[in-house]
């Protein structure tokens, strides 16, 4: 298996710089948590940053960038498609949000009685 042992590409310097980038992106995420902004916008930005971090980890730490293209094509696209298929549940989630019983505006807030 010597062919494999020569196979491990990437220097420690490269991996350290990836680590620094991951830390920077994490600090940006924590910073964003305290910026007032619309919830949807924040969700999109956070998920975008997370996807970048995931891509960095998969490509460099998990070494997939240096593997054969056929392995990448076998693993990644079907995973992405399967995860996207799970999104079919969200319309139902928004629907049940509207179906929820709403208290009348005049009704006292139940938990407020504790004060």
């Amino acid at each position: 298996m010597n062919a494999h042992e020569e196979h491990f590409a990437g220097s420690n310097k490269l991996f350290t710089s990836i680590w620094v980038w991951l830390l920077i992106l994490t600090v940006i995420e924590i910073f964003l948590a305290y910026k007032p902004m619309p919830l949807h916008f924040m969700l999109v930005v956070l998920l975008g940053l997370s996807l970048i971090k995931a891509a960095l980890i998969i490509a460099y730490f998990m070494h997939l960038k240096f593997e054969r293209l056929s392995l990448i094509l076998t693993i990644i696209p079907m995973l992405v498609v399967c995860i996207c298929l799970l999104f079919v549940f969200f319309p139902d989630s928004f629907r049940s949000s509207d179906l929820r019983y709403k208290f009348k505006e005049t009704a006292p807030v139940p938990a407020a009685e504790e004060h």
């Binding site: 070494h63 054969r68 799970l86 989630s93 019983y101 208290f103």
Partner: protein, 226 residues
Amino acid sequence: MSTEARAQHFPAADWDGGVLPYRVGHRKLGMWLFIVSDSLTFSALLIGYSYLRASNVWPTPFPFYPSIVFSSVMTFCLLSSSLTMVFGVSASSRGEKDKARKWILATIFFGVAFIVLHLIEWRHLIHEGLQPFSLPAHWVSTFTAPDGTLPSPLFGATFFAITGLHMFHVATGAIYLAVVAARVKKLKHEDVEISGLYWHFVDLVWMFVFPLIYIMSVDVGGALAK
């Protein structure tokens, strides 16, 4: 892509037997397939959490200290453990088994630190009164919507299920790495690399759990402290 270039990338002879079609051993391919299926488990949990969150009034109770400080330090631990693991695999690929063992032990140290910090963080929340199917009373009164709708009691269920399953993966990974570190001289390089794949996957999952569970639930205005 020209026909010749394609033939170079995807030679049909790859599938005639006698060679490893993906140029990785079957154990490593097996770990990749496990990682794909485990990704789907976590995706399903996170999407279930998002489903509940979108269809309910959801509390956002995490204060800067202890929750965000702890989870940020935990993120730092996991990212650093991934780096030490890469160094370990890299040393192993050069045949420096002793060095590889030291780096793997450093990885286990960061992994255990993650678990300890996470358990302390869990204890804070449990002491505050958070349970899988009920919220602390002062959370309920603070986060009740203006129209009187109560916040979802499933906050604890999603929180403990997702972070708990992730913590279980970290614990399993630490044990796995301990076995690899103990036997590193007998193992082939590829086996060390496979344990690294698992460890990076655990790190990868946290990159989604941290923003979705922690960052999205920060108590920005300090509503609970009032």
